[in-house]
């Protein structure tokens, strides 16, 4: 079956919005992502997120071994423009990204400025696995007391992210997804404790 660009995208959006407003809550978009009938080398859930977020109005950057090939493909698919890491609105960290690339992505992504803190990057990260195991403790807006998550991802991304979000309201927002089409968001307001 084919992905419905109206209803499946709407359902995905509501789940992402719920995760973004309740950091640490894991939503699943398998019903939508399994309808994807385009062969890609990244997760189907990431492609659904691309359809949800990208068009000619925004820019993106792909972090992957096959960056050039993927960039061309996504540009043709969504009409979004590719830009350098420090300028891109949406950065897609694909599952084959190296440890150093993950860290440098968090380091270089744009954080907006005090007048327009919304002009900051959203990083979409393909991780091995997202669960609610008690690994990381989350606090902040959207969380009643605390939430727990475990994100399987290489590198010191937590330190890089903390460093990046030190001057609120500047910062980066992150959407994690995994092979099982789970979705979990960490807006800049969420504090992570190990």
């Amino acid at each position: 079956m084919k992905l419905d660009m109206v209803h499946d995208i709407q359902r995905t959006y509501r789940k992402v919005l719920n995760s973004m407003s309740r950091p640490g809550e894991i939503e699943n978009i398998k019903n939508e992502s399994q309808k994807v009938d385009i062969d890609t080398e990244f997760f189907n859930s990431t492609l659904v997120l691309m359809f949800m977020l990208l068009d000619a109005e925004v820019s993106f950057k792909i972090i992957s071994n096959k960056e050039d090939e993927m960039t061309k493909f996504i540009n043709q698919l969504t009409y979004a423009k590719s830009k350098e890491l420090h300028e891109a609105d949406f950065i897609f960290l694909l599952n084959d990204a190296k440890k150093e690339d993950i860290e440098s992505t968090f380091k270089k992504a744009k954080v907006g400025d005090l007048i327009n803190p919304n002009k900051s990057a959203t990083i979409i990260v393909e991780s091995e696995k997202i669960t609610n195991e008690k690994d990381l403790t989350l606090k902040g807006p959207g969380i009643k007391e605390v939430n727990y998550v475990e994100v399987k991802l290489k590198g010191n991304w937590i330190e890089e992210r903390n460093e990046k979000n030190i001057e609120y309201p500047l910062g980066i927002d992150v959407i994690f997804t995994d092979i099982n089409s789970n979705i979990m968001c960490l807006p800049r307001t969420t504090q992570i404790f190990k």
Partner: protein, 279 residues
């Protein structure tokens, strides 16, 4: 002529624009995110911001409630409900508990909202500093610098003039200890409902092209002074003429014949629900 509109009226590009702005708004509580507000089939200033948010959110499984100043059946609410229903086919309800999406003008329902609900508020003037600073260029910088003397001075002047903070509605709040935000013209009575609300609250201003949000479980504090604390409208000793409710926001009405003043619940579905379940 019959026109087949898209699902939820908008083309997908418009929805994408609103959705991207909404996600950023949720990530920066209280910050007004500019967005490319669309032309709507209702006049600007009549809830186009709220309507755009609602249309970007609505899916086939949603149940929509629309209220206008507490009433499910006033013209604005009915028209918005009809438009959404015609272009999406979603179910409408008056029951706050059954709704997944609640679009509201100037009230937060009396019944406390639940976890998975989304409250969409229509906002005429999203800028809390607009009365003291007409320039958008400048207010954006005042927010950037966390410079809110204007909002404080406005309240101070009211105290000097009238002896208390005389904001009838739209009493400014501070969200997550950072941004001062206009809560839309809800009465002061409803301000505390925003604090650590269980539901996500989205605010949309179509004419002013702004979207902002209060995520659930977020600190929302009404501006006040130590010696002049924030107070909500008091309806002590008053009860609803119809359902006898107390401690809710009420309309003050005058009986034309007897010239007597009486009170009635402002939230009509709350009142009706109490009347129906009385026995």
């Amino acid at each position: 002529m019959k026109i087949d509109y898209n699902f939820a009226f908008f083309d997908e590009g418009s929805k994408r624009e609103i959705r991207r702005a909404t996600l950023k708004a949720v990530a920066i509580p209280g910050y007004q995110v500019s967005f490319a507000s669309r032309e709507m089939p209702i006049a600007r200033g009549w809830g186009t911001g709220g309507l755009q948010l609602t249309l970007s959110l609505t899916g086939t499984e949603d149940v929509l409630k629309v209220i206008d100043q507490g009433s499910d059946e006033s013209v604005n609410a009915v028209n918005i409900k009809k438009l959404v229903k015609k272009t999406t086919g979603v179910l409408n309800t008056d029951d706050t508990n059954k709704a997944t999406l609640i679009q509201s003008r100037h009230r937060i329902p009396e019944k406390s909202l639940k976890d998975k609900q989304i409250l969409v508020l229509q906002v005429p003037i999203p800028e809390p500093l607009r009365l003291v600073e007409p320039s958008e260029y400048k207010t954006k910088r005042l927010h950037a610098e966390n410079e809110y003397s204007g909002a404080w001075l406005m309240l101070f002047e009211q105290i000097m003039k009238y002896g208390n903070m005389s904001t009838g509605a739209d009493h400014p709040v501070k969200v997550y200890d950072r941004y001062v935000m206009a809560p839309s013209p809800i009465p002061r009575f409803d301000n505390p409902k925003m604090d650590y609300s269980k539901a996500l609250i989205l605010l949309g201003a179509g004419r002013e092209k702004k979207i902002y949000a209060v995520p659930p479980y977020t600190k929302v504090k009404s501006l006040a002074f130590e010696d002049y604390p924030f107070e909500v409208e008091s309806f002590e000793d008053k009860e609803c003429r119809l359902c006898k409710a107390t401690g809710v926001f009420m309309d003050e009405l005058i009986d034309e014949d007897t010239k007597e003043t009486y009170y009635q619940c402002n939230d009509t579905s709350y009142c009706l629900d109490r009347l129906n379940n009385r026995n």
